[in-house]
Amino acid sequence: MAHAAIELEHVHVTYRTRDGLVEALRDISLRVEPNAFLTVVGPSGCGKTTLLKIVSGVLRPSRGRILLFGEDLSQARLEGKFGFVFQRPLLLPWRTAMGNVALTSEIVAKQLSREQRLERAREWLGLTGLQGFEDKYPHELSGGMQQRVALSRALSFHPQILLMDEPFAALDEITREAMQGELLKIWARIRSTILFVTHSIAEALLLSDRVVILSHRPGEILETLDIPFERPRAELLRGQKEFVELVEHVRSKLRGPEGQLG
C-alpha cells in the first residue's frame, strides 16, 4: 500500500502557558492521501492552527507520531516540502510582489540565477492573475491581491505539501469566492497535497475531498466526512439541497449540545 502524504497517529498536544497547562489536541489520528485536499473545520481556538504547526514540525506533539510519506517527521528532511499560506498575507513590505515570490526560491532553489528566479516569480504571479503587478509593493495592493502574492510565494517552488491556515478568512466573501476558484484551478495543475484549515463550513465543503470536524478545545475529531460532490463544483451547488443539508449537518455537529459563546 502506498504511503499517505501525511499521517498522524494518536497525536496529543499539551503546552505550558503562564496560566498553566493547556490541552490543545487530544488523540488525533488522520491520513491525508497524496494529492488529496483535506480540510479541517472547527470553532476558533479548537487547535486547528496547532495541528498545522505540528505537521510542519514547528511544534512537537506531546504524544503520538507523525509520518510524512511514510517517514517519521523527526527523520524526514523537511526543507522545501512545505508551502505555507497564513490568514494574513505576511508579505515583506520592503519587497515588490515579484521580490516576495522570489524569496522562496532564493532559499530553496539556490542553483537558479537571479534572473531565473524572477522569471519564475513572474510566471507564478501570472498564474494567480497578477500580471502587471510585479513591481508593486504590498501596501499598493488590495487584501485579495496580497493574498494572491502569498499564494504564489508558497507555490512557486512546487511544495509537496501545502499547509493553509484560514487563508481567505480576512477577505470579503466575493473576493474569497474568486480566490477559492483560483486555488482549485492551480491545484488541478500542481496536484500538491493540501491540508487546509478554516472555520467556514461552506468553504470546506466546496473545496475538499474530505473534511475533518474538530471539537472545541481540547480539539478532538468529531467526524470525518468524504465529500460526494463531483468536480468541478459549480457555484450553483451552494443553493442545492444536498449541499445545504450537509452544511447544516456539520453546523449542528460543531454547535454541540450547548452552543458556545463567541
Binding site: S56, V58, G80, F82, L90, L92, W94, E106, I107, V108
Partner: protein, 267 residues
C-alpha cells in the same frame, strides 16, 4: 545613488512646506526685532544678523574648532551604533541575556550619563577619547533598546515559514529580521545622533582645549557673546545637518515605507 539622494531632498522639501519656512523666518525676525526694539545690549543677546556677520568674518576660526567636534560626534555615534547593534542582537536572540540585562538597559536609559563624564576624564585623560566615549555612551541606549525591540517584533509566522523552507539562521536574519527592524533602528538613530552631539560637546565643556564646546564656554567666560553665539549656531548647524543625514539615509533605505513620519512609538 545620487538620484536617490536628490529624490530624498525632494521629499523633504515637499514636507517642509512654505508654512514651516515662514515659521523659521518669523522666529529669526522676532529675535531681531525684539533685540532692536528693547535695545538689548550686544553682550547680552546679539541680533541674528550680527551673529551671521561674525560667523562669516570668523569662518576659519569656527571651522578649525568644528572639525574636532564633528570627528568626536561621528566617531561616538558610529561606536554607539556598532556596539549597540551587536548587543541588541544578543539580547534579542538569547532569552537568558534578555531576562537578565533588559531591565538594566531600560533603567540606565534614565540615568543622566552626563554625570559620568568626569569618570571618563579620569579614565581616559584629556583629548579626544573621553569625548568619543561620552558621546557613544549617551547615544548607545536608544539604539540597543530599539534594535532589540525591532528584532523581536518580527512576525513569528514569517520566521516559521522561513524555517519550514529550510532557511538558515543567517538567511532569516538578513532577509527578514534585519529589514524588519530597520524602521525601529532608524527611529533610535535619530534620537541618538542628537544625543551624540550633546555628549561630544559636554565632553569638551568638561575637559578640552579644542572644539566648539570649548569655544562656546571660553567666549561665554570672556563675554564675547557674539562669538559664543556664532559657536552655538555652528553647533546647531552641525547637529541639524547630521540629523538630516540620518533622515536621508532612512528615506533612501526605507523608501518602501508608506509613510516616513511614523511616530517614535518606542522608547
Amino acid at each position: 545613488m545620487l538620484r536617490a539622494v536628490a529624490e530624498g531632498f525632494h521629499a523633504l522639501a515637499q514636507r517642509r512646506t512654505l508654512g514651516s519656512l515662514l515659521v523659521f523666518l518669523a522666529f529669526f525676525l522676532a529675535w531681531e526685532g525684539a533685540v532692536r526694539l528693547f535695545h538689548i545690549r550686544d553682550f547680552l543677546l546679539p541680533t541674528p544678523s550680527a551673529i551671521a556677520v561674525t560667523m562669516y568674518q570668523k569662518r576659519l576660526y569656527l571651522l578649525e574648532h568644528s572639525v574636532p567636534t564633528l570627528v568626536a560626534i561621528v566617531l561616538g555615534f558610529v561606536l554607539a551604533a556598532v556596539t549597540g547593534f551587536v548587543i541588541a542582537v544578543g539580547v534579542a536572540y538569547s532569552r537568558w541575556l534578555n531576562e537578565i540585562s533588559y531591565p538594566f538597559l531600560v533603567t540606565s536609559q534614565v540615568i543622566p550619563k552626563i554625570a559620568l563624564a568626569p569618570l571618563f576624564l579620569v579614565w581616559f585623560g584629556f583629548g579626544i577619547t573621553p569625548k568619543v566615549v561620552i558621546a557613544a555612551l549617551i547615544a548607545f541606549f536608544p539604539i540597543v533598546i530599539n534594535t532589540a525591540k525591532g528584532l523581536t517584533s518580527v512576525e513569528p509566522e514569517l520566521v516559521q515559514f522561513m524555517r519550514s523552507l529550510g532557511a538558515t539562521w543567517h538567511e532569516i536574519f538578513f532577509k527578514i529580521s534585519l529589514p524588519w527592524a530597520l524602521p525601529y533602528i532608524f527611529a533610535a538613530f535619530k534620537i541618538s545622533m542628537t544625543l551624540a552631539v550633546v555628549g561630544a560637546v559636554v565632553g569638551e565643556f568638561v575637559g578640552s582645549d579644542k572644539g566648539l564646546g570649548y569655544l562656546v564656554m571660553y567666549h561665554h567666560i570672556t563675554f564675547e557673546t557674539r562669538l559664543m553665539f556664532a559657536g552655538l549656531m555652528a553647533l546647531s548647524i552641525i547637529g541639524v545637518a547630521l540629523f538630516l543625514l540620518v533622515v536621508l539615509a532612512e528615506h533612501y533605505l526605507l523608501s518602501w515605507q508608506a509613510s516616513i513620519e511614523t511616530p517614535p512609538e518606542t522608547m
